[in-house]
Amino acid sequence: MLTKRLIACFDVINGRVTKAQQFQDNIDVAPAADLARRLYDDQIDEIIFYDIMASAERRMIDLPVVRSVAREVFVPFTVGGGIRSTDDMFEVLKAGAEKISVDSMAVRNPKIIREGARAFGRQCIVLSTQVKRVGKRDGIPSGYEVFIDGARTPTGLDALDWVRRGEELGAGEIVVNSIDRDGTASGYDLEITSAIAEAVNVPIIASGGAGTVDHIADGLTKGGAQAAIISSILYSPRLDRNIGVRELKERLAEREVPVRPYLEATA
């Protein structure tokens, strides 16, 4: 059967993975390729890589770092940050990524979703959304608003309206990233995650807030997500104890969440 995925998220600055809290105060963790290698050996299901300064610095993604990670991991690898055109997408795919994540740029220019899906197939286009609970009001019927530019800029878009539009335009997966929960280890925002899972038919990825195995299990069951983005729990120096992929999966399986079983090494 199709299993739920654990996706390690890398927020990369100058080739190094960093860890933020509510999109701020990034602290250094490790070189991206080293951490990628370690997590691949630990049988992570997937890796997503955000070049978090590319968009603000108005430059192309750091392709040499993308290549250095792609050489280490033989599981799916998504890359995002500063993608402006299908030519940019092509460069990133050529560097060894499978999927492209679009976020702020897709809000500014939604047709990039359609163009990407046409050129590379919709499975290639991951729409990442930064959502924040703002309360129900005119124009924001869900009570959740989409933000861009590292959670700094409100867009006036309702989260549910935006993901429906994104699916229509050709997004193959949607990341629901809660700004309120990011880096807090207080659990995913299940309310908006499940509302988005209801609203669209493509796979949903829960993001922002996983600090315990129960949080992950909740995101994948009550939250209705097909995949969970984790980072703090795997490697944040802010947590007293990090948990490896193998242990996470064993404990998810105990909670009856279907996961890809750990493959024992063979001679």
Partner: protein, 201 residues
């Protein structure tokens, strides 16, 4: 030497990285004449069937592939869209495909979440040299909205369930193909690529 067909809608570099990790001699090929120096070929794929076929035709690779694989019997490994285009027809944008394997490609039922994205189990239906090191029920990484329905059940080497039981590994004469991304299925995918490199059909 394995030639990895490198066309705009493909992900040849990822396949190249996997072969490099396995220390298997390979090159990414973009032109018809380069196919002649490769004794076996891999057709990767990530996009849509129509775009893939158009991209192959544009690069003048369609005829050369046909000659190397169908006429001269070079061992061939198709991945994802590289499996689907082998059939006669795909429901994706109503596309006529290569027709090397009888059968058609259908869309998953929309009562499911489509595309299927993630790790799913592969159940082997018979023995084959390419799956000799692959454990029955092993998990591989899938990304697909469409699936192959071969006319001849004899070509099915592995099956996977997503609403429907579908052909996830195909073996037909000198052709093998996987619906999942062998280059992105961790150790188990690498085992298939390694076995393919040594396969003498």
């Amino acid at each position: 030497m394995i030639g990895v067909i490198d066309y705009r809608a493909g992900n040849a570099p990822s396949v190249g990285y996997a072969l490099a990790r396995l220390r298997i001699e390979h090159e990414l090929v973009t032109k018809a004449e380069e196919l002649d120096r490769c004794d076996r070929l891999i057709l990767p794929g990530v996009g849509a069937a129509r775009a893939t076929l158009a991209s192959l035709a544009e690069s003048g690779l369609t005829g050369a592939l046909q000659r190397r694989v169908r006429d001269e019997g070079a061992p061939f490994f198709g991945i994802c869209i590289g499996l689907q285009v082998l059939f006669e027809h795909s429901a994706e944008e109503n596309t006529m495909c290569l027709g090397w394997v009888p059968g058609e490609v259908r869309r998953f039922d929309d009562s499911l979440r489509v595309p299927q994205i993630g790790w799913n189990s592969v159940h082997l239906r018979r023995d084959h040299p390419v799956t000799a090191d692959f454990p029955d029920g092993g998990y591989c990484y899938f990304v697909n909205s469409y699936y192959a329905a071969p006319a001849d059940p004899g070509v099915v080497l592995g099956e996977t369930s997503y609403g429907v039981e579908f052909c996830s590994v195909l073996a037909h004469e000198n052709i093998v193909a996987t619906q999942f991304h062998a280059e992105k299925s961790g150790e188990l995918g690498l085992r298939l690529l390694r076995a393919f490199a040594g396969w003498a059909p």
